[in-house]
Symmetry: C2
Subunit: 403 residues, 2 copies
């Protein structure tokens, strides 16, 4: 990308590579819908206004044009898809940037697993941004395939695509000042540190945040979300396959707070991606629950971009990366065309790109013994959770009985 | 600062160094007023909530507590004060961070002038953050004491206190793709690049922004400010000694846009600093014109902090730098105590710190010949601006006649 050429296109002298005429722009900077043309040169937006000259012109005839959606927190492994298949699933949904904490693959394969995904990501029409896993294994009770120490975290953070430290699930470790945990945090100084602190409140929440943790995606109640916002956390509103927090947290999104809130999916299964969607599904649900569509799109674009310090994403402005989606019906968020860095990569829900050939790396890395009937048996007589006067015939350590 | 100790104070175990009890906090995260205590340890805020243990306790008895004010753009030289005297003037006004583009001193003394101020800044109870001057001299018509080339800009930007490239006044150079100008911009990649583009509109504005320029403090009309916001610029609303743009631009500050707007003074004289104030005067004026006080304070604190990527400033939250001001009357912004990094440095408008001894460096660096009556004469016969049929007795190249 030659800056002088980009400027010349913006000035209206050199022809754009792609000109999207007659767009109704979802202007995430000003919160308005604005009628204009968008001139794209290379992978960037050159200008927004009245443009004519271009190698390729698409007349949007008043369709809406929004920045590509950003999924602020997920573990792509939870989709159960290979990263290339994952891209084919989410890109037609308008997701053009995803921040992923690879702690599942790292749990099994360590740094080698992380390298596998970061290498592959370069070949996909989707900006994958990575957080260094902070808690591998998640607890010391886990039999994991790898451990990631503070030294390893430091090494991983040096990679340019690793933009911060992933969700610090070990909040008891932070609060108690565990040395190894604090070393991981110190190694991330100046970068983003994501939080994960279900139910944390009062002085313990203060202690957790004083270490420099910036966000949370684990709030499930209004009061919890409100306290976290007040203490300065950015609120990731999660709508995953199992955890769904939008209904509880949406009342927190006001004129005063919305800029510090954005959407994430955390764990979303491939069937949910297929039938409901990705971040687009969350935006649709938020609009359905009464959130103004432009604001819902701001939350799914520029708000996440600002939190993750992606200064050339989340908006349609000169100099921004040309990640764009066209929308037929704004309230229904019907996405038609998807442009990744200026190239059409999906249309009408179908990917227009082939994934790189699948390889056989990292296969057969999850090893468990075949279960037998015996391995599912709960040895009741040895279980010590019986109340006084109860016999082992009456008490079962279960979460719920499905009759 | 030991992180483990900070966490312990936040947890309520170790005593705080300073405890501000019964504050009415101007919560810039949530836009509310919140009743709470603030525990400070070293130069940081440890916790916000109910705290008791501290070496020193100040009962604020319900007075307001806000983050230190941030002046987003100024040339401190315009105050006509030595930097140490400047700090004595603005710190009692609540200014605890100032972003300054040293292009005046650089115009006279080059990099040596910049070094003089950056060295001195370390000794002052005021966070001075610097922008590398982009346009020294401001025009080729100027007889300046120094020139700052793109190579020199690159060298200056390597200094950790230099957070970006100062106002790019040479907008014709950007728009026309001037090589040396674009080199300065490329050298600033990944850092903040401030703009300065009076009256720029349409394709020329797009061209200017496509180069990566992020902000503007030169808007004087509503339409101009609106277009710049729409194109993605951050709007610095300027209230200097000569240029006053608040009345024209305040209608632009809405629920949708306020996060991208903040206050600057650009050039403010020492007498204005003394009699009216600094950023505090702008906040007062904005409140007087109808802006909600909490929002006015957000613009003077967290909005500027976010634009300048000062992630631990602009809010009262655990882990944030303890730059704090107490306010007796919110609507009048009557500032009483000023805490810089946890230490009381001003009270009731008076500085409680002595400036470092003044030195004799950089004296006698502005050299002009003594003017005579003759040097003020305009040699009319040689002036070529006469219209057809006019004689030199009738036409004068003046801006305004003061009778």
């Amino acid at each position: 990308m030659d800056l002088k050429e980009l400027i010349s296109v913006a000035r209206g002298e050199m022809p754009a590579d792609l000109l999207l005429k007659n767009a109704r722009i979802v202007n995430t900077f000003s919160g308005e819908i604005e009628q204009a043309d968008v001139a794209v040169y290379g992978d960037k937006i050159a200008g927004v206004g009245d443009y004519d000259k271009a190698k390729e012109i698409i007349d949007l005839q008043g369709r809406f044009l929004a920045p590509g959606l950003i999924n602020g927190h997920t573990h792509i492994e939870s989709s159960m898809l290979h990263p290339a298949r994952y891209a084919q699933a989410v890109v037609p949904r308008g997701t053009l940037a995803v921040v992923t904490d690879l702690h599942e693959i790292a749990n099994v394969c360590g740094s080698e697993g992380i390298k596998f995904v970061t290498d592959l990501a370069r070949k996909l029409p989707l900006d994958m941004l990575f957080m260094a896993p902070s808690c591998v294994p998640a607890t010391h009770l886990e039999t994991s395939g790898a451990q990631i120490s503070s030294n390893e975290v430091k090494r991983i953070l040096a990679h340019p695509k690793i933009i911060g430290l992933g969700e610090m699930m070990n909040f008891p470790g932070v609060i108690s000042g565990d040395e190894e945990v604090l070393k991981k945090i110190s190694a991330s100084k100046g970068k983003i540190i994501d939080g994960h602190a279900p139910g944390l409140t009062g002085k313990e929440l203060n202690a957790y945040l004083s270490a420099g943790i910036l966000s949370d995606h684990e709030s499930t109640t209004l009061e919890e979300g409100k306290e976290k916002l007040r203490r300065g956390m950015h609120l990731m509103i999660r709508e995953g396959s199992s955890e769904k927090n939008l209904d509880a947290l949406l009342p927190l999104v006001t004129d005063d707070t919305y800029k510090r809130c954005f959407f994430v999916v955390d764990d979303r299964s491939c069937s949910d991606l297929l039938w409901e969607g990705d971040i687009d599904a969350v935006v649709r649900k938020a609009i359905d629950r009464g959130l103004e569509p432009v604001r819902a799109i701001q939350m799914a674009t520029i708000n996440a971009a600002e939190y993750f310090r992606l200064y050339d994403r989340g908006g349609i402005g000169p100099g921004y990366i040309a990640n764009l989606i066209t929308i037929t019906d704004l309230a229904e968020l019907e996405i038609d065309m998807v442009f990744y860095r200026g190239k059409l990569v999906a249309r009408q829900g179908k990917p227009l790109f082939s994934p790189p050939p699948l390889t056989l790396e990292l296969r057969d890395t999850v090893r468990i013994k075949s279960p037998t009937a015996k391995s599912l048996k709960i040895p009741l007589p040895r279980w010590e959770g019986l109340g006084e006067g109860e016999t082992s015939d009456e008490a079962y350590p279960v979460i719920e009985i499905v009759p």
